[in-house]
């Protein structure tokens, strides 16, 4: 079985693109199971159900959804195995620009919306720079020039990725994504490791402090001027 992890900001077109790609795999008699991880709410499961793909939803609530997804990867793999799927596809919530949930053997797919402006690829961090495939969506709404600039920026951030210009509405480019999914490696749970370590997040806020005043905070604290210190035991 192969594992495909799809990251990208909310509304970038992850679900739309995946629906087309999974349909195309379906036509070749290849089965997929989808896990959608989100924070509070999602209706993506209903969309995937429409194309007959078994779907599970995980809501991380007050936890970082990427951390939550990583911790639950093992269960997701067993569930997809039980479904006798050829692909486990994980659609992340895509909120955090510091985490990148890709593991070494998965196919890491970053979906990025071309209407978000030519500086976006420079801002999004590890979920683009450590991806295998960058799917650029919504090119139908911008000029050829802007598309070409956007594409170059993506390649600047991740020179080795495969760029696919896709349209989530018409499905154009999504067969190419399906091809990449077919070429990916087998998942091996015991050997799976994150490509990019999750960011430090150990402070009083992480464990529930709500007061804003600096004197209440402990742990790794970083000031806006870049000065960082550790406060506490």
């Amino acid at each position: 079985m192969r594992m495909i992890i799809v990251a990208g900001t909310p509304g970038s077109g992850k679900t739309a693109v995946l629906m087309h790609a999974l349909k195309s795999l379906n036509e070749r008699n290849l089965k997929s199971s989808v896990v959608k991880v989100d924070c509070l709410y999602t209706d993506d499961d209903k969309k995937f159900a429409k194309i007959g793909v078994p779907t599970k939803v995980g809501l991380s609530m007050d936890m970082c959804p990427d951390h939550y997804a990583i911790y639950n990867t093992e269960d997701m793999i067993s569930w997809a195995m039980e479904n006798e799927s050829d692909f486990l596809v994980m659609e992340t919530a895509g909120l955090c620009h510091r985490c990148a949930p890709y593991t070494v053997n998965c196919l890491g797919v970053c979906v990025i919306d071309a209407t978000s402006g030519p500086n976006t690829p420079l801002k999004v961090g590890p979920f683009l720079s450590t991806a295998d495939v960058a799917v650029i969506t919504k090119g139908d709404m911008i000029s050829q020039a802007e598309r070409e600039i956007f594409r170059e920026r993506v390649l600047e951030v991740n020179p080795n990725c495969k760029v696919i210009e896709a349209n989530g509405l018409s499905g154009q480019g999504c067969v190419e994504l399906a091809e990449e999914m077919l070429k990916s490696k087998e998942v091996a749970l015991d050997e799976e490791k994150l490509r990019h370590s999750a960011p430090l997040a150990v402070c009083t806020l992480c464990v529930g402090e709500t007061k804003v005043n600096k004197k209440y905070h402990r742990g790794i604290l970083r000031r806006i001027d870049g000065f960082q210190k550790y406060e506490g035991e």
Binding site: M141, I142, S143, R151, V175, E176
Partner: protein
């Protein structure tokens, strides 16, 4: 530079073989694609944009200079052969015209001289002047479209240009298509607009998802096209005058 592309017919929506088996489009030629909504115009355009190799729903095959394009040619984004232009496209980048074109020229490895050439060409396609220091996002529909056409003609080096319905654009459509074809592009235009459809060399008629027929634009149609172009010019001119606050008293008489 490529010399021609060949579309080898596949199947329509019912799975019947398309009546048109083969279409060859040469450099500098302008081809139209016509047909009612749902007749498969967009999927034909999609097949060309992806350089389909019997791997799309229609099972069409696209040859470039009579050869199958390599996997590299089809998928390396830097080698993209097809540039697209449509009514839905807008400039969203927060930059001035000059900065944007400079950045684009740099991305494509084109010289900086292109920037002024693009603005000059764009200004011949629209009545509202475009300047380097204008912000992209405040350009009107007509200015944006004119700039996109000029940019595709000069900076984007994709040899094939696909144009999807630019009828209401407020630009000199005739000149826009001529500019693209004149820069050695293969131009395909999806349109219902007689001004555009009749200025093409040939047009593919779509029905039921299949290529039904290829019509050569007749001499008569070319003459009609010239006349329609005059009406188009008149409309553009009136549009500019209304925009500038003039009060119109009469319109010039056109011989039809």
């Amino acid at each position: 530079m490529i010399e021609e592309i060949t579309i080898i017919g596949g199947y329509d929506k019912q799975g019947n073989k398309e009546p048109v088996e083969k279409v060859i489009i040469k450099k500098g030629e302008i081809f139209g694609v016509v047909g009612p909504t749902g007749s498969g115009k967009s999927s034909l355009i999609g097949d060309i944009e992806q350089l389909a190799q019997e791997d799309t729903f229609s099972k069409r095959k696209i040859l470039v200079d009579n050869k199958e394009p390599s996997y590299e040619d089809r998928t390396n984004p830097r080698k993209k052969m097809v540039a697209q232009l449509s009514q839905n496209m807008n400039f969203l980048a927060d930059m001035s015209v000059g900065d944007f074109l400079t950045l684009h020229a740099k991305c494509r490895g084109a010289s900086n001289k292109c920037v002024n050439a693009v603005v000059e060409l764009a200004n011949t396609l629209t009545g509202e002047p475009i300047k380097n220091e204008h912000e992209l996002t405040i350009l009107s529909g007509g200015q944006s479209r004119a700039l996109m056409v000029a940019d595709v003609a000069i900076i984007s080096n994709s040899p094939i240009v696909l144009i999807d319905e630019i009828e209401n654009a407020g630009i000199r459509k005739h000149d826009a298509l001529k500019a693209l074809a004149g820069h050695g592009k293969i131009v395909m235009v999806v349109t219902h607009d007689p001004v555009l459809a009749l200025m093409t060399d040939k047009r593919i008629v779509m029905k039921n998802g299949g290529m039904q027929n290829v019509v050569h634009t007749s001499e008569k149609e070319k003459q009609i096209s010239e006349k329609l172009n005059k009406i188009d010019e008149l409309m553009l001119n009136l549009r500019d005058r209304v925009r500038n606050g003039e009060i119109l008293e009469e319109i010039e008489h056109i011989e039809i």
